[in-house]
Structure formats: structure tokens, C-alpha cells
């Protein structure tokens, strides 16, 4: 039973994260959401008896893809609607 609830929570989290990744205006948060999708995916792969795929997804999806997105956002704009272009990543972090 507890197992069931756990898996259901994983599924709901994954759908929630993907919806969040699409509707969130702040691209940095959206990218973090894709990172969370990958993390949940790699747990699911492990549960589906695919350890090789889980390892790959954890390394590529969570680490590399996310960091490339973050670097791109750093070099371009952070907000989706770009209403004020001045507000860049760096000033927001500090």
C-alpha cells in the first residue's frame, strides 16, 4: 500500500513538474523543473529494472542538460515575456 502511494506521488510530481516547466514564466525555474522530471524519471527507470538507463538519465538529464540550459539562460534572457530586459540572471541571484 505504501508502495502504491509512493509511486502515485512520483507520477503526480512528474506531471506537475512538466506542467510547471511549461507554464512558468521564469525560465530558470522551468529548467529546474525539467531537472526534477529527469530525477523522477531515473527513479522510475530503477523501479522498472533498467539500471543502465537510470544511470544515464541521472548523469545526462539531471546534470548536463540542466547546466547547459542554465548557461544559455545566463547568456540570453531569464524571463519568458521579456517585458524588462534589464533584469538579468546575475542581478536576480544576488
Amino acid at each position: 500500500m505504501i508502495y502504491f502511494i509512493l509511486i502515485c506521488i512520483l507520477f503526480l510530481l512528474m506531471i506537475g513538474a512538466s506542467v510547471y516547466a511549461i507554464i512558468q514564466k521564469d525560465l530558470l525555474y522551468a529548467v529546474m523543473a525539467t531537472g526534477i522530471i529527469s530525477l523522477i524519471l531515473s527513479i522510475l527507470y530503477y523501479l522498472l529494472q533498467a539500471p543502465d538507463v537510470a544511470l544515464t538519465e541521472a548523469a545526462i538529464g539531471v546534470a548536463l542538460t540542466t547546466i547547459i540550459f542554465v548557461i544559455t539562460i545566463r547568456n540570453t534572457v531569464r524571463m519568458e515575456d521579456e517585458s524588462d530586459k534589464k533584469e538579468k540572471f546575475k542581478s536576480a541571484v544576488k
Binding site: P51, D52, A54, L55, T56, A59, I60, A63, L64, I67, I68, V70, I71, T72, R74, N75, T76, K85, V93
Partner: protein
């Protein structure tokens, strides 16, 4: 209006995809009865002929090794395309973008972790035929090690020449081992080495050799991707 149309289109697509996959069913044998699926042959031959413990490795490197050659080429091409798309004349190359200024805890911590990460990556791809993992996973782990160093040290740099030499040599090893399979009247990528004993480190014939080459290649390529993108300091209005 457009959104409604898109949602309608996606609803149709989703309905048919979902119907198809619910039809296929989850978790039970779904192949049509009476056929012998290839996976049974793969699993049997993995132990019997190739003496490899990890069936995914044997498929990726041997049975469907040609796919892997293509896949490595895709990554190689991605690095090439990245360099071509983001190419700037030498004097225009900007500084590296710095995501954050790292404190001394981060720098010394990553210095400490870096050898361990590289070691883990090497372990993963050397043991690719025995345990989960392999060339891709190990290569990616090594690339994350370099990523850590690049992020925490502002002036840490990887020699571009060294990266491309490693990449080329690993690629040549892969294709060359493949061509050596023609020895003794064999075919491309055919195993020509003794296969050893199951679950030993030295087993599986050419599979560990190819996976180690793939590991080096993927590591060098992904490091190259990160390095190229990181050196792309954006001007606000270009």
C-alpha cells in the same frame, strides 16, 4: 483560439497513442504468440557466446554495435555543429561566463572531489560489461567532473587540442577495432579475441575495449560541449 485548436489536435493524438499503448499492455508478455522474439536469442547468446554479464552492454556494443558507432558519431557531430554555429574569429572570443564566484570551500571541495569523480567514471566504463553502466555513463560522469572544475575555478581551462586528440583517437579505436573484425574472414565489429570466463574483468572479447574507447570519446565530447557553451559570453545587444 490557437490554443483550443492545439488542444483538440493533441487530444486526438493522445487518444490514439494511449489506445495503442493500453492495447499493448503493461508488464505482461506482449509479443504475438508463436513468434520467437529476438530478445530471447540475445539473452541466451549473451551468456553462451559472448560471456558478458550485462545484457544491455552486449546489445549496445556487440549485437547492435553499429547503432553505437552511429550514436558516437552523432555526439561528435553535435560538437562540430556547436563549434560551427558559435564560431567567432579569434580576437572576438569573449571571456568565459562565470555563473557565480566560488568561495574557498567550493574550490577546495571540488579539488578534493575531482579525482574521485574521474575515478568513478573510469570504474563505471571499465566494468561496463559486468555491472550497470558503461561507456556512455562513465563518459558523462567524467564530463561532470570537468564541469565541476570549470564552474568552481574561473581560470581553469581544458586544452581544446587535447580534447580533440582524445576524441579522434578514441573514435579511430572504435572504427579500427570494427575493421579488424574482417580478420579471419569475419565481419565488421565481429569479436576476434578470446571471450574468457563469465563475470571476470577480462572477459567479453572486444566489448570492454570498445566501451573504454566510447567512454573516452563521450567524456571528451561532452566536456567539449560544456566548454564551448561556457565560452559564449553574451552581449546584451549583438
Amino acid at each position: 483560439m490557437k490554443k483550443v485548436l492545439v488542444i483538440l489536435l493533441l487530444a486526438v493524438l493522445g487518444y490514439y497513442t494511449a489506445a495503442t499503448f493500453f492495447d499493448i499492455g503493461f508488464g505482461q508478455p506482449h509479443f504475438i504468440k508463436g513468434l520467437e522474439p529476438v530478445k530471447d536469442i540475445y539473452l541466451a547468446q549473451t551468456v553462451k557466446t559472448l560471456k558478458v554479464s550485462n545484457a544491455v552492454t552486449s546489445i549496445v556494443v556487440n549485437f547492435r554495435g553499429f547503432d553505437t558507432l552511429g550514436e558516437v558519431t552523432v555526439l561528435f557531430l553535435a560538437v562540430t555543429v556547436l563549434g560551427s554555429v558559435l564560431y567567432k574569429k579569434r580576437h572576438e572570443v569573449g571571456e568565459r561566463s562565470v555563473l557565480f564566484s566560488a568561495s574557498s570551500i567550493v574550490t577546495s571541495g571540488s579539488k578534493l572531489l575531482f579525482p574521485a569523480i574521474i575515478l568513478l567514471g573510469a570504474y563505471v566504463f571499465i566494468h561496463g560489461h559486468l555491472s550497470p553502466g558503461g561507456g556512455f555513463q562513465g563518459g558523462v560522469i567524467i564530463a561532470t567532473g570537468f564541469l565541476l572544475m570549470l564552474l568552481s575555478y574561473e581560470n581553469y581551462s581544458v586544452s581544446h587540442t587535447a580534447l580533440s586528440v582524445v576524441e579522434s583517437l578514441a573514435g579511430i579505436t572504435f572504427a579500427g577495432v570494427g575493421l579488424l573484425g574482417f580478420l579471419h574472414g569475419g565481419t565488421f565489429l565481429q569479436n576476434f579475441l578470446p571471450t574468457g570466463v563469465l563475470n571476470n574483468l577480462f572477459s567479453g572479447g572486444i566489448i570492454p575495449i570498445i566501451y573504454i574507447a566510447v567512454g573516452f570519446k563521450v567524456g571528451a565530447e561532452l566536456t567539449g560541449v560544456i566548454y564551448t557553451v561556457l565560452h559564449e559570453k553574451g552581449q546584451s545587444n549583438g
